[in-house]
């Protein structure tokens, strides 16, 4: 063996052993983190139990067949009492938007029922309704509704307008025919510019189709954030951070710690993702317009971004419960800024930009497009790249935060550090 070979071997060895040490440290952290997760009731409920219970129980209000608002009860006041007015009432009743629940003679009576939540709309057919029609005059019906509840308002109005335009069409055709037009010509003449509308992506107006995909992504994110936060709180409470002191004394050892933790969470949450998209989707009878591969390719940067964000935040908490307390209230603002029930269009710009920092905002948007709209990966390329950007940023943040708290933990042995947050 000559000199050169020996030097080469040494150099090689140093790198090899550095990598090997780093890898060992990562695997150790990984295993250690599993132990932490499976030895704490709080974390375990967030990391496992929540995923079994929440996606099934939360959408219970919209369980099969209850996901569309239909047959909203309305009251009718028929001041005309002719066969034409009765025909109109029948037309209101047969369309699926509304159903005629009760007949009244005065508006006060009907309004009373409104207050008691027995009905959600009042239709008034005025005296002279049929007379006007027979005399070729314009006539009208009145509808009273409540705009406090958006869905009910929309249903009542749509239902009455539908009945009115249906009956109007019949009258128009008859009048044209009486002027000597043929039936097809009359049908054509009554509406010169017919509009043919196709509701896309959610034609059945189903509430679950649009709630559940967003909800699932949010459950993944929130349980991860709260779970990792709780683990951080626990580490502080039980004085566990200093175990990592020897690891970070190696160059780059902190990366092993962060990756090891991330590996433990990632493995669990990839399983959850498969369960969500494979089983929960079917349980709620949702159309899945994507394959598992696309979903997984998309979900990986999302989960990583959440995990690194979680690790960075987790270093702030001093007890497990404080982490839960402070993070729980974020679910509602987080899901709403994603544009889920309130359109992003109607939000102030600073809020839109701030929301982009959350993995859920880009995640819900992209995931909706893939799973419900049937988009290809290239259609959501922006979301995908943006998520990787978040991964990089939060990774750096988590490395820095982790290093700081582990270094600080050197003081543990010396004594009291009981400031709590």
């Amino acid at each position: 063996m000559n000199k050169k070979q020996i030097i080469n071997l040494l150099r090689e060895n140093r790198i090899v052993s550095w990598i090997k040490d780093g890898f060992d440290a990562m695997l150790y952290t990984w295993y250690y983190e599993y132990k932490n997760i499976f030895s704490d009731a709080g974390v375990l409920s967030l990391f496992v139990l929540a995923h079994l219970v929440y996606p099934i129980l939360y959408p219970i209000p919209f369980y099969k067949g209850h996901d569309v608002v239909r047959e909203v009860p309305v009251a009718v006041i028929d001041d005309d009492k002719t066969s034409l007015s009765r025909q109109f009432i029948r037309m209101c009743d047969v369309n699926e938007n509304i159903r005629v629940a009760v007949h009244h003679t005065s508006l006060e009576e009907a309004q009373n029922d409104f207050f008691k939540n027995r009905i959600n709309g009042i239709i008034v057919i005025p005296q002279g309704f049929s007379g006007d029609i027979y005399r070729n005059q314009k006539t009208s019906v009145s509808v009273y509704c409540d705009a406090s509840y958006f869905y009910l308002y929309k249903q009542v109005l749509t239902g009455v307008k539908y009945a009115a335009s249906y009956m109007s069409a019949g009258i128009q055709i008859q009048r044209f025919q009486s002027k000597g037009l043929s039936r097809p010509a009359a049908m054509a003449a009554r509406d010169p510019l017919p509009l043919i509308s196709f509701p896309l992506f959610n034609p059945s107006n189903s509430y679950t189709n649009y709630l559940i995909p967003a909800l699932l992504i949010l459950i993944l994110q929130q349980t991860l954030l709260i779970g990792i936060g709780s683990l951080g709180g626990l580490s502080y409470e039980k004085k566990r951070y200093h175990y990592f002191l020897p690891v970070i004394s190696n160059r780059g050892g902190i990366i092993s710690v962060v990756l090891g933790k991330a590996g433990a969470y990632m493995s669990l949450f990839l399983l959850h993702s498969i369960y969500f998209f494979g089983i929960i989707f079917r349980f709620h009878g949702l159309p899945m317009k994507s394959n598992l591969f696309n979903l997984m390719v998309f979900i990986i940067p999302f989960l990583l971004a959440v995990i690194f964000l979680g690790i960075a935040i987790s270093t702030v908490f001093r007890t497990r419960e404080m982490a839960m307390l402070l993070l729980l209230c974020t679910a509602m603002p987080f899901i709403l800024v994603s544009g889920f029930s309130w359109p992003i269009l109607a939000m102030p710009v600073w809020l839109k930009n701030l929301a982009m920092l959350l993995p859920s905002t880009t995640g819900i948007d992209g995931f909706m497009k893939i799973s419900i709209l049937g988009a290809e990966l290239r259609d959501v390329m922006f979301n995908w790249i943006f998520l990787w950007g978040l991964v990089a940023a939060y990774f750096l943040m988590s490395v820095f935060a982790m290093k700081t708290i582990i270094r600080k933990s050197a003081n543990y042995t010396e004594g009291n550090n009981h400031d709590s947050i």
């Binding site: 030895s39 704490d40 009731a41 709080g42 929540a50 929440y54 209000p61 209850h66 239909r70 909203v72 109109f88 409104f114 207050f115 959600n120 029609i133 314009k138 006539t139 009208s140 019906v141 009145s142 509808v143 009273y144 509704c145 409540d146 705009a147 406090s148 958006f150 009910l152 009115a164 009956m167 109007s168 128009q172 009048r175 054509a188 510019l193 017919p194 509009l195 043919i196 196709f198 896309l200 959610n202 034609p203 107006n205 497990r320 419960e321 404080m322 839960m324 307390l325 402070l326 729980l328 709403l336 309130w342 109607a346 102030p348 809020l351 948007d365 497009k369 988009a375 259609d379 947050i421």
Partner: protein
């Protein structure tokens, strides 16, 4: 703590106030975070209705009539016509990418058909994923097209020598007059915010209650609390929770001020009923918090269960998706949430001015919640006095 201090409710109250003032996290939970949430949601919903929703138009005809239609669509406040779309494939992509929410396709024989008296179809695709946006687009595009169609029809009839009133009757034999009884400005900010702000508040009331009692069990400081309270569970709990009742009542009143003074929500009914309901609402959630502590026996489990209970609450109240359409177990569950009853009172008194006999139906259950802690009183007594119950119960 000074051993010579007086015992009883006031002493426990003073002890709790000292805790609150010393721990920044308590101020965070009771005042700072709720205020941040109020500010956040108000700025989010401030605009009220969606405006300038981007839509795409393929104008394959490019004639006087088609340009008129484009102009009219653009004039609708809720819609904004984006740069022209050249073909359906491009339109499909823009729809999927979310750059436009609706695509109106005007075919190349649009004007010529219309002038020859043939029906000239307009095809309209719109994104119905979000029903608030989808519903607005559908309503506004349809009414714009129908208006233009009606004008064409009337022009045709007038040219044929019909009188003005006859053409009116021909164009629209049955008109629908809409009277909005409640929330006449159809502003969804009102109903969403009046639901969301109390939902945020219930979170903080419930979790703070569980935390402040549970943490004493976890840290075994409950003994000193019991000694200060003269070994009476009711005294200890009243003294401990009273500071929070006061803080959250003030927060609740502040919330009402924001809603009715600052944002100008309609207030048709009795404001004192709403104020009374708000105080009951605070007490009801404190009571539910005690139930959770009593049932689970420790801080961690109490919080985990309460988090499920409170974070799903908003969906069950029927403020977004109406109660009438829900699956029956959800309707039953909704009755076990004080939030449901409280929001009913808000809607009934603020927006509707319902008669008292109706609102009483929501006040009664809200009051019943106050008696719930007495069910778990014996259990709480054991928890507070038996050393074996204390400590951190999380480790497996």
């Amino acid at each position: 703590m000074n051993k010579k201090e007086k015992k009883g409710l006031l002493a426990v109250f003073r002890r709790e106030m000292k805790w609150i003032s010393r721990e920044p996290s308590f101020i965070l939970m009771t005042v700072v975070l709720p205020l941040i949430m109020f500010f956040f949601f108000i700025s989010m919903f401030r605009q009220g209705v969606p405006r300038d929703i981007p839509i795409g138009i393929i104008d394959a005809d490019n004639t006087r009539l088609s340009r008129e239609l484009v102009r009219r669509l653009n004039a609708v406040p809720s819609l904004e016509v984006k740069n022209p779309v050249t073909n359906l494939e491009e339109g499909r992509k823009l729809l999927i990418q979310g750059k436009i929410y609706s695509l109106v396709y005007i075919q190349d024989d649009f004007e010529s058909k219309a002038t020859r008296g043939l029906p000239s179809e307009i095809i309209h695709y719109y994104n119905n994923e979000n029903q608030l946006v989808g519903g607005t687009i559908f309503k506004d595009v349809s009414s714009t097209v129908r208006e233009l169609s009606g004008e064409l029809l009337k022009d045709n009839l007038l040219r044929k020598g019909m009188s003005q009133t006859q053409t009116e009757a021909m164009a629209e034999p049955i008109a629908v007059n809409t009277h909005v009884l409640f929330n006449p400005y159809t502003n969804y900010m009102y109903y969403l915010l009046s639901g969301i702000l109390p939902t945020m508040l219930q979170f903080f009331i419930l979790l703070t209650t569980i935390y402040t009692v549970g943490i004493e069990l976890k840290k075994s400081t409950i003994q000193s609390a019991m000694e200060t309270g003269g070994m009476s569970v009711i005294t200890v709990l009243s003294g401990k929770l009273l500071p929070y009742t006061m803080i959250f009542s003030v927060m609740g009143l502040f919330m009402l001020t924001l809603m009715f003074k600052y944002l100008g929500f309609p207030l048709q009914g009795n404001v004192y009923l709403i104020i009374g309901a708000t105080l009951l609402f605070v007490l009801a959630y404190q009571a539910v918090g005690l139930l959770f502590i009593g049932l689970t026996g420790n801080l961690l489990k109490g919080m985990l269960n309460a988090s499920f209970y409170s974070s799903s609450a908003f969906t069950f109240t029927g403020m977004t998706y109406p109660m009438v359409a829900m699956y029956w177990p959800a309707k039953v569950w909704a009755q076990f949430l004080p939030l449901t009853h409280y929001l009913n009172i808000i809607v009934e008194q603020a927006f509707r001015s319902s008669p008292m006999s109706v609102t009483a139906k929501s006040f009664i259950p809200l009051t019943i919640f106050l008696f719930i802690p007495f069910l778990v009183l014996p259990r709480l007594k054991t928890l507070f006095t038996d050393e074996r119950m204390w400590g951190d119960w999380g480790s497996l």
